[in-house]
């Protein structure tokens, strides 16, 4: 026994300190996810059914990508308030184009995301507009555009895309799980294994220090906004269209607050410079399960908004005060 202990000790001392093994970072978040799911299952036994599992993933995917997009700009110390509006606009355009010509539709979304992302970056960096103001203005412009294209919900989504979310094996939505894992995996890889990821984190951690380290912080910020726009239009918006099987000029609105809340709940440092892919995915599921439970309880949409708004504030306050305690 003693020999074994000594071996372990020797082994441990040989393992180099690695920065990315910060254990248990995502543990708390995921414990809450499983706890919530357990509670939901006890109250609504039907929540484990195939139909509801599918619903959960359909809710989770657009939220995940909206959160990912928001996190991309948050890690460099910026913010994007136009995410929800861009998602709405995306659904309005996609619900026309996708059924006509899938490839053209996708290409249009890419261009849309890139244009909005580049514009946000240009406003923030080149015109030096505060990101809050810049993206707030962008939000109004995009909302206006969405209302011009579609005044009321309508349109359709091709069956081939619906197939992605409907496909299940033993009531498990394989494609959706794969998309989420790939998305989170890419994000983890970006943050931990690439020099661009480190540049993003460094820029958010301290702009002036990053500058002195020869990082082109303006370029990094513009890149972050571009990536944010692309993820929002191409993934978050597209999956939102699939979720509602239609386009609607206001459907993306709640995602502004959701993306921010999930990001903050998912260990992203609000002032920039830190994020964690595992926690982020967990936070997305926490919000998803709350929404799902309210749907199962047949709470109407308006009341849901009130409850959600209130809950999110509680969550954010909890995140804020726990950080304060840790640092104090």
């Amino acid at each position: 026994m003693r020999f074994f202990g000594r071996c372990m000790k020797a082994l441990k001392s040989r393992i180099p300190d690695m920065r990315h093994i910060r254990k248990n970072r995502a543990m708390t978040t995921w414990s809450i996810v499983f706890f919530l799911f357990f509670v939901e299952w006890i109250i609504f036994p039907e929540s484990l059914g195939a139909a509801n599992l599918q619903t959960i993933f359909i809710i989770a995917i657009p939220l995940f990508f909206a959160t990912l997009a928001q996190t991309m700009v948050m890690i460099v110390g910026s913010i994007d308030l136009s995410i929800g509006a861009l998602m709405s606009l995306t659904t309005c355009i996609a619900s026309y184009l996708l059924v006509e010509n899938l490839a053209l539709g996708i290409a249009t979304l890419i261009v849309l995301g890139a244009v909005v992302g580049l514009a946000n970056g240009f406003l923030v960096i080149n015109l030096k507009v505060n990101p809050f103001i810049a993206t707030f203005g962008m939000m109004f412009a995009l909302e206006g555009a969405a209302l011009t294209i579609r005044n009321y919900p309508g349109g359709a989504v091709p069956e081939s895309l619906l197939g992605i979310v409907k496909f299940q094996i033993y009531s498990i939505s394989i494609y959706e799980i794969l998309i989420l894992i790939l998305g989170a995996g890419f994000f983890w890889f970006f943050l931990n294994k690439t020099s661009s990821g480190i540049h993003f984190l460094a820029t958010g951690a301290s702009r002036s220090v990053a500058k002195n380290c020869g990082i082109n912080v303006d370029l990094v910020t513009r890149k972050a906004h571009l990536i944010c726009g692309l993820i929002t239009a191409l993934f978050a918006g597209l999956f939102l269209t699939i979720r509602f099987q239609a386009g609607s000029p206001l459907v993306g609105e709640p995602y502004l607050l959701f993306s921010f809340a999930a990001s903050a709940l998912g260990a992203t440092r609000v002032s920039g410079g830190d994020a964690d892919a595992g926690s982020l995915l967990g936070a997305v599921f926490i919000l998803t399960l709350i929404e799902n439970a309210m749907n199962l309880a047949l709470i109407d949409t308006k009341s849901q908004w009130i409850i959600e708004g209130f809950l999110l504030l509680v969550i954010l306050a909890a995140v804020g005060s726990s950080k304060k305690r840790r640092s104090g």
Partner: protein, 510 residues
């Protein structure tokens, strides 16, 4: 001068302990009673526990064990405002004044109504009151209608202290408050601090520069490794004795041997101008050479390195590095051209406080550590960081600990290591040893000397004549935005250099 303290006991502690995780920052600190009117110097190496102890006195941290006695009565602080209400104020190296507001408004900020007894502001009345207070405490005159940004550092400290005292402060703690002052400014501040002690205020004075502490303090408390070694009268202690007790050994400053620089020019600057702060500055630097830059603060010394590195905009005729023209309109370009910069603002412009040590170490050369697709070679990253930590003696509990967890000297060593790892041709160092203890200073001197022997060029600003004459080959003197002289940096030249630095500079009195 065994001064007899007429004042009552102000503060003492018994058996204060504080741990952070496994590290014991303070082990049983019984701070000997400080009396009204006494100036107590508090010294110790980086990591000795001074900052933690002060944070406990200021109510920022709570001790794990032990008690604080205020006027002989036991007190506990739950927050900084508790300590402030009792009358404890900390004066840091920076200012917490609002630069765009007047002296009077700064002193009474948030208490205007209480001071003049009504809601509608009466600037005249506030200013009269401010002027009266400054005169009462310091016996000097500062125009209370001036904006704080128009004052020099010492006057700003005076305003900070006046504000604290007008709130009923009985214990003033100066925490490295002189860190960015010149010798003259320091002496003025010390004079004013001594004046204060006449008004029965207790003072704790913390500084890394021991001569300073010996100069200003009545009694000196020495911390080592989280323990109080001794508290003794200033007259019973000498500098060597102090160093010995602080470090546990008799080491003082030790400088590496100077090597001869090459004859070839590495770097030259022609006609560098920054607004009206630097005018047409030209000089050159040879391979293997260390050149110091001296001058009083505000004379242009600070701007020179920042301008070369591209942090502040400049006009320049040309700049040659290794015989090639280089432009540095941004730090990004400068780093590309193999120029590296060490800021004197360690926490604001040097360390990523919220990122792990390993990222801080490798921050200048991720490109080298990653392949063409931008994917980092993890093994190389870790092994290189481990080697650097060992070589540069950066003491951190792990490579994953956050930048903010390192002590000042270790941060500085890490930053030097960061620069060295990136292998630039030209090092620009702003006050590389400012705010670090004797041990770390000696190490940093050796690292800088080593860089030079490896064929690099080093340009460094410094306020310490000792450091300049023992480490540098030549010294550039800057006054009024111009290079007034370039002298060989030798010990024999010390007086000559200092004379050049101080000559004909107008000094504003507070």
């Amino acid at each position: 001068m065994s001064k007899k303290y007429l004042g009552n006991e102000l503060i003492r502690t018994e058996g204060i302990e504080k741990s952070f995780g496994p590290t014991k920052a303070l082990k049983d600190i019984s701070f000997k009673a400080l009396h009204e009117g006494e100036i107590r110097g508090l010294v110790g190496e980086n990591g000795a526990g001074k900052t933690v102890f002060i944070s406990i006195l200021a109510g920022i941290l709570r001790p794990d064990k032990g008690s604080i006695y205020w006027h002989g009565k036991r007190v506990t602080f739950n927050s900084p405002s508790d300590a402030m209400q009792l009358g404890i104020s900390v004066v840091h190296q920076g200012t917490d004044l609002v630069p765009e507001m007047s002296v009077a408004n700064n002193i009474f900020l948030g208490r205007e109504k209480k001071t003049i007894g009504r809601i509608v502001l009466d600037d005249k009345k506030l200013q009269d009151e401010a002027g009266r207070l400054i005169d009462e405490f310091f016996g000097i005159v500062i125009d209370p209608s001036l904006l704080v940004e128009e004052l020099d550092v010492v006057a700003q400290k005076v305003i900070q202290v006046t504000r604290a005292l007008s709130r009923g402060t009985k214990l003033l703690i100066f925490d490295e408050a002189t860190a960015q002052m010149t010798e003259k400014e320091k002496h003025r501040l010390f004079y004013l601090i001594r004046k204060l002690s006449n008004s029965r205020v207790g003072t704790i004075f913390i500084s890394h520069i021991l001569e300073e502490v010996l100069n200003v303090a009545d009694t000196i408390t020495i911390f080592r490794n989280g323990e109080e070694i001794t508290t003794s009268d200033k007259d019973e202690i000498t500098l060597p004795k102090l160093i010995k007790m602080m470090t546990g050994s008799e080491k003082g400053l030790s400088f590496p041997l100077k090597t001869t620089p090459s004859n070839d020019i590495l770097f030259s600057v022609y006609g560098l101008t920054v607004g009206n702060r630097l005018k047409e500055v030209s000089f050159d630097l040879r391979y293997k050479e260390i050149v110091g830059i001296m001058g009083l603060r505000g004379q242009g010394k600070e701007d020179l390195l920042r301008a070369i590195f591209g942090i502040i905009p400049k006009k320049i005729e040309k700049m040659l590095l290794k015989g090639k023209t280089v432009t540095t309109d941004s730090p990004f370009e400068a780093v590309k051209n193999k120029i590296a910069f060490l800021s004197d603002k360690r926490d604001e412009e040097g360390m990523f406080l919220t990122r792990p040590a390993i990222e801080n170490l490798n921050a200048l050369h991720w490109e080298v550590l990653s392949n063409r697709a931008g994917i980092i070679n993890h093994e190389q990253e870790v092994s290189q960081a481990e080697r650097a930590v060992r070589k540069y003696d950066v003491r951190t509990s792990s490579l994953g600990s956050l930048g903010s967890s390192l002590s000042g000297g270790n941060k500085q060593k890490l930053l030097v290591a960061r620069l060295a790892l990136a292998e630039p041709d030209l090092f620009l160092l702003c006050n590389p040893t400012y705010g670090v203890d004797v041990g770390a200073k000696n190490q940093i001197y050796h690292y800088i000397a080593e860089l030079a022997t490896l064929g690099k060029g080093v340009l460094m600003t410094s306020d310490d004549i000792n450091e300049v004459v023992n480490l540098c080959h030549r010294v550039i003197i800057i006054r009024n935005g111009m290079i007034t002289n370039i002298l060989p940096a030798t010990v024999e030249n010390s007086h000559e250099i200092l004379r050049e630095v101080y000559e004909s500079v107008e000094i504003k009195n507070p």
